[in-house]
Amino acid sequence: MSYTIMNKEKHILITGFGGQGVIMAGDILGTAATLYDGKFATMTQAYGPEARGGACSAQIIISEEEVLFPYVKEPHVLICLSQEGYAKNIGSLREGGMLILDADLIQARKISSDIIAYDIPATRFAEELGNKMMANIVTLGFLAAVYNLVGAEALRKAVQTSVPAPTREMNSRAFERGSEYGKATLKSRAKQGRLARD
């Protein structure tokens, strides 16, 4: 299709299984952009009949202008929390796009060199912090560190207002853990140049 994405739009696709908080991550991103960063955003979701464990995805578009067509076909950023989501969507990532994946859950193929690929053991970190379900927040923290999509502060706020009150503290730790790992990764990347996984 010869159709081009509006100039000022950033397209993000987060994929995983139902229950991993994929939709929530999308929601938080959109909230951060809309409420705390003065941008326009849409978030649409795709899921199947399964309540848990089925493939699902959140598609987020962040823009300086009103977003009309809300689907993400060729994301700028692809975040994968499942093998299936990875396999199905890696081909759609646009040239020069960014891939973030949980390497404990995904065996990646050789990744083309014009892609910026990051890997973060988000689920493991989350499990260590007390709840596997916070892998999404870890990932957002990581994203905030490695990609300037919405301000880190906006994201932090959005996390705090989106998660249930009693879990704010825990989620905040998860976010920072991801963020730190992101910063560390950036540093080591700066030394090594781009990563091409095998």
């Binding site: 809309t34 979701q45 809300p70």
Partner: protein, 386 residues
């Protein structure tokens, strides 16, 4: 929040939730429903919000009961709503007919998924548009609105309540899975900024009151149950007293009025957004989620030098016949994108009356139509390819 009913502020909210907030802001204080994807979130949010406002939420045993219950609640004097999707919408049809026949204000939000039958429960469709118009037996008119964003879910739900009180009719909100599940910016204004239409109550004493004697606009004032008017309400053909009249004369009077109160107030009910119509060579007519793709396609076409225009239907029923007839006479083609095999396009064709070709851009359900597909149809229609 100071005002619990009107949650003034800006949100990143999905359409289903925005619909709830619209309803509550409009004064809805009764919700009866039955869960169904992708409308479940409406019931869920209502179940949390209504208790905060002294309202009633009840999950009924099915959609038939839900529809009946909101009719009862409306006669009980409370603004009432239900929500559902295709299969439940089908089940509601008989009692939507009762609501129409007894002129009971209420709102039904149908968040459309792809059908027929169970179809694709979690994926988008626009296949119930004609059902909204014709789904119950017998002849009648309806009012149906089609939101294309969470913000419109909010705005049009308020409008739906207002129209339902104004014209004493169940009003349908024909949303869809994408609009319902999509998160986007929703701005809820202050209470004072929201126009609310209240129930038109009788001005005469009970002994003089005729429940179906209309005001000049064709709509009769409505006494609630418990107001002391001792009304009788029936789904049988009835006269102005509300009493059954089993003859063709009473039938004609009743049906003519039911139809007339909508048709004669068409201009007040119908709202469309008309973009670039003045100089358009080709006009896209669209509604609901498809209107977003249409708008994008029209912009893209203009960018390519094609004089495209857009009619976005906010009201889908009654259908803007006059507008379409008028525009059809001035353009080279009309194009309608729909996530079905062609429903509203039949009306466009009928109203165009041969004055220009009418092209359907159809998707059969599961995802929304890409702007590029509509753009191609615009280009083709100008080239006279189709």
């Amino acid at each position: 929040m100071a005002d619990k009913a009107v949650m003034t502020g800006t949100y990143f909210m999905n359409g289903d939730y925005a619909c709830c907030e619209g309803a509550l802001a409009a004064g809805c204080r009764f919700f009866a429903g039955y869960p169904i994807t992708p409308a479940t979130e409406i019931a869920e949010r209502m179940s949390r919000r209504l208790p905060e406002l002294g309202g009633i939420f009840i999950q009924m045993e099915d959609e038939i009961a839900s529809m009946s219950a909101i009719l009862g609640a409306s006669w009980g004097g409370v603004k009432a709503m239900t929500s559902t999707s295709g299969p439940g919408f089908s089940l509601m049809m008989e009692n939507i007919g009762l609501g129409i026949c007894t002129e009971t204000p209420c709102v039904i939000c149908n968040v459309q998924r792809a059908g027929p039958s169970t179809g694709l429960p979690t994926l988008v469709g626009q296949g119930d548009m004609m059902q909204a118009r014709w789904g119950s037996h017998g002849h009648y008119e309806v009012i149906a609105l089609a939101p294309s964003s969470p913000q419109e879910m909010f705005d049009l739900t308020i409008r739906a309540f207002n129209l339902s009180e104004q014209y004493r009719i169940p009003v349908m909100i024909m949303a869809d899975e994408v609009v319902g599940h999509m998160n986007e910016r929703v701005v809820i204004p202050r209470r004072e900024e929201i126009e609310i239409v209240g129930r038109r109550k009788p001005k005469v004493s009970p002994d003089k009151y005729l429940p179906y004697h209309p005001d000049p606009d064709g709509v009769a004032p409505m006494a609630n149950c418990g107001d002391g008017y001792r009304i009788h309400i029936t789904g049988l053909t009835h006269d102005e007293r509300g009493y059954p009249g089993m003859d063709e004369k009473t039938q004609a009077q009743m049906v003519n009025r039911l139809i007339g109160k909508i048709v004669n107030n068409r201009d007040k009910i119908i709202r469309t957004e008309n973009v670039y119509l003045d100089d358009a060579d080709v006009v896209v007519v669209a509604y609901g989620i498809s209107a977003r793709s249409a708008r994008q396609a029209v912009r893209d076409a203009r960018a390519r030098g094609i004089r495209a225009g857009l009619i976005k239907l906010e009201t889908v029923w009654p259908f803007p016949e006059a507008l379409i007839r008028d525009v059809a006479g001035r353009v080279r083609a009309l194009i309608m994108p729909e996530i079905n095999a062609g429903q509203m396009v039949l009306e466009v064709q009928r109203c165009a009356g041969g004055a220009c070709p009418v092209h359907l851009v159809s998707h059969l359900g599961g995802s929304i139509i890409h702007p590029a597909t509509i753009l191609r149809a615009i280009e083709d229609s100008i080239k006279g390819k189709k």
